[in-house]
Symmetry: C2
Subunit: 479 residues, 2 copies
């Protein structure tokens, strides 16, 4: 278990630090937060989080041991003693560790867990983060929240497919991209990630395999693997996924579904050309292979709009289209959507009702109003302008600091630069070294297990100042 807490001992408050820490541990044990028999964090981890000398922790542990609350156990560190239990005949109740290990769902990759936690380290520089900088959140949202809708609109349970006014706005928004569907075929989800989970649980069976670009954001998730599905990676070139590889797998009956990010691909930034889109779509028609089109970055073109969505080619109801407000408006609203044949949308809505009874109505209403009042277009203009400046600055820094050792392509939109080191090096070691230096990276192996020479850099999140410091430190960390 990762040791994390917001509590800290207070210096010079009249009580020695070791005593404050011993009391903290005592409270954890008495409240059952650290149950009898459970391993407690190491002296080293505690000392680090609290910013005290290890000797202080040794002293605290000595007191707790003397009181019979904890005990050293060879091979498994320090544990809460059974004697601390309410009923002290029972050594360990229940064996949570066994439960934690046997769940159906796979844990996130260790690096992803590290990233999820490191993001909350104060002053950390996040060079790979896939989210917009808080500076880019829409100021106009304040106007919306001041308007105070009828309470029934924002506080009741929404319909299974989501708040109707929001589905209506999404339907209009998509028409602008050549996707003409009624609000009936739109399902609001709690972010695009949930769409993938609903599809995994609602439409696929154990043993299915999902074809996708390699590398791919999808490879960094456990959502399909946890449901017993496997992933098959398709090579990617500058026009998008390799159509021949697609035909090979689809033709031989491997692959139950194709997952693709055709516009401003995560992590490579690639835009699938119109020709390739048509080829991919036709191959999927030929082999009756459904498509999940993840289009979360479409609105974030910087040079010119991306070719039309695969969904706009789709009179056959072959494509499940996934959109999101997390990259453009704000991730904290947790609003995404799925568009597909009505029967599929109904099935996914039913699974959603069993997962969380729908996305926050308050969030749904807020996004609907933002769209309805025409604030979204204006907001995107602003975000694009900012992202262009950010992209230019990061490219300039890369030129300055990394030209000799790495190469990259200027992305036409989205958030990412897929940095390739000219020689193989230990990206694991680089990740650790940078983190020690206060810089958080997204290593390429998250998106392709075998990768040893890429980083996904993002110009969307860190400030200009942080980018400069961060890229400088990164250059310095390279062995």
């Amino acid at each position: 278990m990762k040791f994390e807490t917001n509590w800290r001992p207070v210096r010079n408050n009249g009580m020695p630090l070791y005593r404050q820490i011993a009391d903290y541990v005592r409270a954890k044990i008495e409240s059952g937060e650290w149950p009898p028999g459970s391993r407690i964090p190491t002296e080293r981890a505690i000392a680090q989080v609290f910013g005290v000398n290890r000797s202080t922790i040794v002293q605290a542990f000595a007191e707790l041991t003397a009181d019979g609350l904890i005990e050293g156990k060879s091979g498994s560190g320090t544990i809460v003693s059974a004697a601390a239990a309410w009923d002290n005949e029972v050594p360990k109740l229940p064996d949570w560790e066994a439960y934690v290990k046997t769940g159906v769902h796979r844990p996130n990759q260790r690096t992803i867990q590290d990233i999820n936690h490191a993001e909350f380290i104060p002053d950390i520089i996040r060079l790979g983060t896939g989210e917009p900088s808080p500076d880019l959140y829409p100021k106009a949202m304040n106007r919306i929240l001041r308007q105070l809708p009828p309470q029934t609109d924002i506080f009741g349970y929404p319909e299974p497919r989501g708040l109707y006014p929001l589905r209506e706005e999404i339907s209009k928004h998509m028409a602008g991209y050549g996707v003409n569907v009624s609000p009936d075929s739109v399902l609001i989800v709690s972010g695009a990630l949930q769409a993938l989970q609903l599809i995994a649980l609602g439409l696929l069976k154990n043993g299915s395999s999902v074809l996708t670009e390699s590398p791919s954001y999808l490879q960094s998730l456990q959502v399909f693997q946890s449901a017993g599905m496997s992933m098959i990676g398709l090579p990617l070139n500058e026009e998008g996924m390799d159509a021949r590889a697609l035909e090979h797998y689809a033709g031989s009956g491997k692959g139950t579904l194709l997952y693709t990010i055709p516009s401003f691909h995560n992590p490579t930034g690639t835009v699938m050309s119109l020709n390739r889109r048509q080829d991919v779509y036709q191959l999927c028609v030929k082999y009756k292979l459904p498509i999940m089109e993840d289009d979360a970055y479409r609105d974030l073109w910087l040079d010119e709009p991306s070719p039309p969505p695969l969904k706009s080619l789709d009179q056959n109801g072959l494509v499940l289209y996934i959109g999101s407000m997390s990259k453009t408006l704000s991730p904290g609203l947790r609003i995404g959507w799925v568009i597909g044949p009505e029967q599929v949308i109904h099935r996914l809505a039913d699974v959603k009702m069993q997962s969380d009874y729908g996305a926050s109505t308050l969030s749904q209403w807020t996004v609907a109003q933002f769209l309805r009042q025409g604030l979204y277009g204006e907001h995107l203009d602003h975000v694009r302008k900012e992202l262009r400046a950010r992209r230019a600055y990061m490219l300039q820094l890369l030129d300055y600091y990394l030209k000799g050792v790495a190469e990259w392509v200027e992305p036409a939109g989205g958030f990412y630069i897929w940095l390739r080191f000219k020689r193989d090096l230990s990206i694991h070691a680089l990740f650790d070294a940078a983190l020690k230096d206060g810089v958080l990276l997204n290593p390429g192996y998250l998106y392709d297990k075998t990768d040893q020479n890429h980083l996904r850099l993002s110009y969307s999140y860190a400030s200009f100042e942080q980018m400069k410091i961060g890229i400088g430190r990164l250059a310095h960390s390279i062995p």
Copy 2:
């Protein structure tokens, strides 16, 4: 597929109704919402939803058939013809129906699906709904939303365990019930239902079995069954679940987890006595059986507070405590929480990060402010007063209309009256008859498959006027 849409043909707009409807279907087909080969809704269903004569639909279908867009197929109703496909050599692309049927996740019970949809029929009287009436939503929330927090607080991704200020407030709130845990052991979830899903996916394995009261709200869900787990029902008396039955199953090693709603049980309203709580807890200690304590109704005591939570007895870290704001503050915010040993909370937080990256930050912030500003206690006082009046009125109506045929116990809190008919009757037929009459019921068999003589009535949702009309119609519908 259930036919549902907000679109309606318009009378006297210069275009005949059948032509408007034909155009509607044409658009559905051309957009791929109704793909080639898929079954379309029956003439009867369409006529009913649009409020037109069936002959109008027959005329529209004739036109569409003549245009080659749809065709009657013996045994499977009317389908979208292959000729409507973009590439008309391909008959059906893909076979979504097969996908819809093979998903890992079970569909909701048919009656639950019907209820989820019927709730949005205009003017429907909802006599069994487990949510507060919109009249009970807190007016003071407007004050909160006007305050406009720093944008970073409400629009960024939250920490894995949830927004810290909210976890802090929940920790304080729980201390009031004798549960003393730090914010470290609190996980914010997107409603209590999600807590169950995280536990099912994160802690249990295929083949686990969950012990629970019979009847139980849990039996109406598919969350554990979909993850390959079975349910074992324990009889319930006026003091709570039968401890002997618990000992029988726990002692024979059946049961991986106990799920209980000790306070204002759903659907029976039962409050587990303090003695029974102690017995149940001790048995679980003895057999090392973890407990999920669902305490969503605790704040809604009407006569006197419920005995302390099982969690307050728990120094052993045996209990995972589930709380919710959906029943007291508003369901649309989608905010609940789980309290448990830190290692378990970390595991659940990791699964949550893989499900939806956390609950709406806007919702989390709103609830944190509501608690922090001390508005919750005042709000609960008001809600309790209103619920007491609602309970009294429904009991009065039951006395008047149903005294001869049914019996019930006055609940001491929560939302529900567990109505028992003195003779077995077809609750299925009663459900259908009432629904035709505009009254939506929650049949007892949702909570215990074998049940044939209960209804779960709720005094929380319908207005006084609706209760009066609804109970009257219900009495009239009884065969």
